[in-house]
Structures are given as structure tokens and as C-alpha cells.
């Protein structure tokens, strides 16, 4: 598989703070790479370094096999960026905004026109072409922000938290759009602190914290890193202490807790854990209402790796 981006030993410090600490990773052609980490973990800084907006202290970055530089226009031509902040002109309407930014890449007016049309369709803003940014709701504004970044059909797309503070409808629209872009062959780098999005979208995930890569790999591979296999919660009325102690001693059980008539059990590994539990409850004549079994999430992985939650 071809590497689109290669980052080696990237380090960036702001005065005292090490924002990016000796980062090395690649982005493969055609994949969606998720950069997952809490606020301030260095995701945006990494992207800004890759884009040659920021000076960095050490390391090398190459895109499409060439070294990335501020005036590497051949590389830049193939890149589309959607920044975290909405970056559009207040004075221009939706269409003109896209036309301006697209025009920085595509000189041919006719081609640009069809590209803008496609971008508008992709983000679902066809009916808002003549609207000014001020007239758009937060979600629609985000969609415009995306359209401005990807209208020129780049091969490599950076999306920096495009769904922050976006309503569910717009969010779905945006996520669908990203998948469409990938289907059309684009390579995408996606940063977020929403693990659900990453799980849904990304082929590969880098988990960042304090400027370092904590783990990387596919969704499943990352989850395999977790010590736990399964999390079970059961609604049980007035469970006695002795039962809890007994359950604690079951095979594979890592931890048991009982709160507000809810019994939580985490299993380290193994199969048929739930069946075993149900059998036991039946045997003891304990009534239970609802039972849930969950696979570990990336949050659990993150929690195990750092001792803190992704979202704080």
C-alpha cells in the first residue's frame, strides 16, 4: 500500500509546552485515518505542521513522496483542508465563498462551476447558494466550511473536528459526505474527540495524548489492547452483599460494582460469560430486569492507557 504522508520524529514545542513529541506515522492511500485524542493532545498542531503552517523543531514530513514546504504548490494543489474554525468571508454568499476558495486551485471557470455544484450537493447546501454566512445556522455554516475546503476535489483531505457543536442532522450529512469522498478515492485524515465517529468512519486510528501516539491500528486491533473483553450491566433489585462477593470470584471477572440497583461486571476475557451469569442468577432465584453486554470502547482503551477519560 502506498504511503501518502510520512511523518518522522515530528517535534513541536510552544515555549515550555511540548505540543507534539517525536511523532512518527504514515497515512496510506485511500484510507481514513482518525486522529483521536482529548482537547490539547496535539491533533491540530500536528495537522498544521504537516500543512507547513507551523515551524517545527525536529522531524521530517513528506507528502506524495516529496518534502512538504510552504511553496510546494504541486503538493498543495492536491490537498483540501477543513479547519476547526469556520473560515469564510462574511461579505460573500455561499456560492461566492466556495468559488473564491475553489478558484485558488482551479483556474478553469467552467470546471469550477461543476465542481462547486458538486460540492454544494455533497454538503446539501444547494438551496442556500445565495445566503450569507450570517443567515446560516451553525450546522449549515459548518457544511459551508467543508464545501470550501473540498470543492476542488483534492486527493488528500484534512478534516479537523468538522462536527464540533453541530446538530445531529448536519452531523449525519457531514459524515455521509466524508464517506462519499473516500469512495471517490480520497485519502482522509480526520481528527476528533468523538470516539463514536472514529469507530464508525476510520480505517485506522491514532490515539494521541500530550503530543505522543499512545496506540495505533484498526478499530478492532485497538480494542484488543484493552484488558477487558466485555462489560455487563444488569438491573437487580436489592442484591445482597454475599452474592456480589460470590460473583466477584467467577471466572474471568475483573471487577464488580453495585449501585442504584445496577450491577456492573467487567470481564477480562472468555466466552459465554453472560450465559454463566444468567444461569447463576436463576439458580439463586434472583430477579433481574434488563441485561446489557457491551464490547469495550476506544474510551476504555484510552482510559486504560492514560487513566483518564477522552472527554473531560
Amino acid at each position: 500500500m502506498k504511503n501518502i504522508i510520512e511523518v518522522k520524529n515530528l517535534t513541536k514545542t510552544y515555549k515550555q509546552l511540548k505540543a507534539v513529541d517525536n511523532l512518527t506515522f504514515e497515512v496510506h492511500e485511500g484510507e481514513i485515518l482518525g486522529l483521536l485524542g482529548p482537547n490539547g493532545s496535539g491533533k491540530t498542531t500536528t495537522i498544521n505542521c504537516i500543512l507547513s503552517l507551523l515551524k517545527y523543531d525536529a522531524g521530517s514530513i513528506s507528502i506524495f513522496g516529496c518534502e512538504m514546504q510552504p511553496n510546494a504548490y504541486d503538493i498543495k494543489k492536491e490537498i483540501g483542508v477543513v479547519f476547526q474554525e469556520v473560515a469564510v468571508f462574511e461579505e460573500l454568499n455561499v456560492y461566492d465563498n466556495i468559488d473564491y476558495f475553489c478558484g485558488l486551485y482551479i483556474k478553469d471557470k467552467k470546471l469550477r462551476k461543476t465542481y462547486i455544484k458538486e460540492a454544494l450537493e455533497l454538503v446539501g447546501l444547494e438551496e442556500f447558494q445565495k445566503f450569507y454566512p450570517k443567515q446560516l445556522s451553525g450546522g449549515l455554516l459548518r457544511r459551508l466550511n467543508i464545501a470550501c475546503g473540498i470543492a476542488h476535489k483534492p486527493k488528500l483531505i484534512f478534516l479537523d473536528e468538522p462536527t464540533v457543536a453541530v446538530d445531529p442532522q448536519s452531523r449525519n450529512n457531514i459524515l455521509d459526505g466524508i464517506q462519499t469522498l473516500r469512495k471517490k478515492g480520497a485519502t482522509i485524515i480526520y481528527t476528533t474527540h468523538y470516539m463514536e465517529e472514529v469507530e464508525m468512519l476510520c480505517d485506522r486510528i491514532l490515539i494521541l495524548d500530550k503530543g505522543k501516539i499512545l496506540a495505533s491500528g484498526t478499530n478492532d486491533a485497538l480494542k484488543a489492547l484493552a484488558h477487558i473483553e466485555e462489560k455487563v450491566s444488569i438491573e437487580v433489585m436489592d442484591l445482597e452483599e454475599t452474592y456480589i462477593d460470590k460473583i466477584q470470584k467467577f471466572k474471568n471477572v475483573e471487577e464488580v460494582s453495585y449501585q442504584n440497583n445496577l450491577l456492573f461486571i467487567t470481564y477480562k476475557k472468555g466466552n459465554n460469560n453472560v450465559t454463566e451469569l444468567i444461569d447463576y442468577l436463576k439458580e439463586e432465584g434472583i430477579h433481574y430486569n434488563k441485561i446489557y453486554s457491551e464490547r469495550p470502547t476506544l474510551n476504555d482503551v484510552f482510559l486504560e492507557l492514560t487513566g483518564k477519560e477522552l472527554r473531560d
Binding site: S52, L53, K55, F83, A87, V88, F89, D96, L104
Partner: protein, 381 residues
């Protein structure tokens, strides 16, 4: 690409209502106010006919020289006096009601009565002194025992002298209307306000200044090209504003820029360039919000205009006289002084000195901005 960015910069600047208000409409409004307030000032400051009264006394009736001189001075198309001859009571009443500035009562010695001190009262007194002097001259001639000539010949001789113009030659320059300075500072203000346009345009293409700038920075267009086309677009917008202001001041407000139209144009172009370069410099060296930058440009401009006489024309003179260096580095003063030199002086040395100063100012500003604009990567965004 150059034109694409140019077109959109132009569009965004024009659609920014606040920007257009401050750079286009505000100078025109202010100019209108100036015109309304100042149009009559200089006229009011010239000497007008003053209303006086003369108390009818026997002495006055008997002294021809007094009677005739006052009468002469109250005649003609633009006389010095408009005189009424009344009794003392009436004169007092007129004075109290301020219908007259004062009255003359001629008995043994001339006496004038006024309500307050002032320039008109002084002139009134001065003229009375002069008539008094003439009478003294007359008496002197008679006393000199020059009886060979008869009274009427002497009187004629005196009249000859008093009516004759004194040997004074006025060599003042023609254009002395100092309120013009107000309008020149107005042009200076508009030219420097143009810096806000340049600042806004530049901010939009700098990655460390605006979000849009980041987007532009990752596009495959060279920064130099973008900056240049943005600057050019704002310069054109600025010049359109200045042109409108010129048209308005020349045709509606009747401001006199002197006779060298081409040089006026040259000054407007260089002045705007100075304003633009200042805006670009402030855009590229300061890392604060656009509002703060606008505030800084407005403050610098208003301070500059204040020093070059916008809020009181004498201020420019006071600075020029006492702290000349301050106005030599003040672009608003360079522009104002350039127009002044064109309007008032025949020679162009002073005008060109101002043009060169403005170009130098712009060059320094451009050099500073280039130093900062050359950076392509930033320490922080």
C-alpha cells in the same frame, strides 16, 4: 489567480458596510459639516460696515471737517460706517439694544461711548482719532501764521492729503483662505483611513491573522502573489473613495486645490499609498483582532490629523513652528502640507519635499511589512 483574488478582495471590501462607511461616507459627511460651519468664517472676519451714532451737538454741526469726514465715511458702496444722527438719549438706547457699536459725542474734546471692548470699537476709536488729528493739522497750519493762503486752500490741501492713498503696496499672496486646511486634512484623513482597507485585505490572506488566511495559506498559490493582488485591490478601492471625495469637495463644497491638477492627483496617489502601506504594516506586525487594528489605525489617523490642524487650524502651525520634526514624520501633515504648498506657494520645492517624504514613509512601511510578510511558517497560529 492574481485576478481571481483581486476580484474577490475587491468584492469583500466593497460589501463590508462598516468599512465603506468609515472610508467613503464619513469623510464626505465630515466635509459637509466643515463646509456648513466654516463657509462664512473668513467672510465674518473681514471688516464690515459698522453701525454708529453721532450725537447732534453744536460743536459737531459747526465743525465741517468732522461733519464731512463722517459723512464721507458713511457713503459709497461699502462704507466703513452706517451713521445715524440722534440725540444723546436715543444714542444710549440704541447702544443698550446693541443696534450700534458706539456713538460719538463731540464737545470740547471728542468722546466716544461703547458697550464693550472689541476690534470694531477699536477701529471706531481709531477713525475718530484720525479725524481729530486732521483737525489738529488744520489748526496747526493756521497757527503757523500761514495767513498768506486763505482758509479754504489749507482745507483743500489737507483734504488732498487725507484722500490720497498712503504709499502702501500690498504684496500678499492671492490664496489666503485658511479654512482650506480643514479640507486638506480631510483628504489626509481619508487617505490614511484607506489603511483600514489594506489591513482588512491583508489580514484575509495571512495564516497567522485569520481563519481565512489559513485556508489561503494551504492553497497552491504563492503568498507574494496573493498579498500583492490584495494590496492592489484595496488600493483601487481606496482610490475610488478618494476620487469620490475629490469630486464632492471640488464640485459641491467648492474646495480650491490650486491650479496644478496633475500634481493634486500625484499627491492623492502618494498620500493614499502612505495610508495603505501603514495599514499593511499594522496588519502584518500586530497579532490582535481586526477591531483592535482598526482602532489603532483610526487613532493614529486622528492624532495625525489633529496635529495637522483638523480640530483647529492653528495646531498645524504651532507644531510646524515649535516641534517641526513631529510633522515631518506625520503622514497626515505631509499630505496636508503638500496641498497647502500647492495652494499657497508658487514654487514647488515644498510640495515635492512632501511627496518625497510620503514616498519615504511608504517605503519604510513596506520594508517593515515585507520583513514580516516573508515568513511562510509561523511559531504559533
Amino acid at each position: 489567480m492574481f485576478f481571481h483574488n483581486f476580484k474577490y478582495t475587491f468584492l469583500t471590501l466593497f460589501k463590508n458596510k462598516m468599512l465603506i462607511f468609515w472610508t467613503f461616507a464619513f469623510p464626505i459627511l465630515l466635509g459637509t459639516f466643515f463646509q456648513m460651519a466654516f463657509q462664512d468664517i473668513e467672510n465674518s472676519e473681514t471688516l464690515h460696515t459698522m453701525n454708529i451714532a453721532v450725537v447732534k451737538t453744536d460743536t459737531f454741526e459747526n465743525h465741517n471737517i468732522w461733519k464731512e469726514t463722517i459723512q464721507n465715511l458713511s457713503e459709497g458702496s461699502d462704507p466703513l460706517f452706517s451713521t445715524v444722527y440722534v440725540n444723546e438719549e436715543e444714542a444710549k438706547k440704541q447702544l443698550e439694544e446693541e443696534n450700534i457699536i458706539g456713538y460719538l459725542k463731540l464737545e470740547d474734546t471728542p468722546k466716544i461711548v461703547v458697550k464693550k471692548s472689541g476690534i470694531y470699537q477699536t477701529i471706531f476709536k481709531s477713525v475718530i482719532e484720525e479725524i481729530n488729528a486732521q483737525e489738529l493739522m488744520l489748526n496747526q497750519m493756521i497757527q503757523n501764521g500761514d495767513f498768506a493762503v486763505d482758509y479754504s486752500t489749507i482745507y483743500q490741501k489737507i483734504e488732498e492729503i487725507t484722500k490720497k492713498e498712503a504709499p502702501i503696496l500690498n504684496i500678499s499672496r492671492a490664496n489666503l483662505s485658511y479654512t482650506m486646511i480643514e479640507f486638506y486634512t480631510l483628504i489626509a484623513m481619508a487617505a490614511l483611513y484607506g489603511g483600514i482597507l489594506g489591513m482588512t485585505a491583508i489580514n484575509q490572506v495571512l495564516a497567522n491573522m485569520s481563519h481565512n488566511g489559513k485556508r489561503v495559506a494551504v492553497s497552491p498559490v504563492s503568498k507574494g502573489k496573493l498579498v500583492l493582488s490584495s494590496v492592489l485591490a484595496s488600493y483601487i478601492v481606496q482610490l475610488i473613495g478618494i476620487a469620490l471625495l475629490f469630486i464632492f469637495t471640488i464640485f459641491v463644497l467648492k474646495v480650491d486645490y490650486g491650479t496644478h491638477l496633475a500634481l493634486v492627483l500625484l499627491l492623492a496617489l502618494t498620500g493614499s499609498l502612505a495610508g495603505l502601506s501603514m495599514g499593511v504594516t499594522i496588519a502584518s506586525i500586530l497579532k490582535t483582532s481586526e477591531n483592535v487594528k482598526t482602532g489603532i489605525i483610526i487613532s493614529i489617523t486622528m492624532l495625525g490629523c489633529f496635529l495637522s490642524g483638523m480640530m483647529g487650524i492653528t495646531m498645524k502651525y504651532i507644531i510646524d513652528k515649535n516641534i517641526p520634526i513631529l510633522n515631518k514624520i506625520n503622514p497626515a501633515s505631509m499630505i496636508t502640507d503638500g496641498f497647502y504648498a500647492l495652494y499657497y506657494y508658487d514654487t514647488l520645492d515644498r510640495f515635492y519635499f512632501n511627496i518625497v517624504s510620503l514616498l519615504l514613509f511608504a517605503a519604510i512601511m513596506v520594508m517593515i511589512s515585507i520583513f514580516y510578510l516573508r515568513r511562510q511558517k509561523y511559531d504559533s497560529i
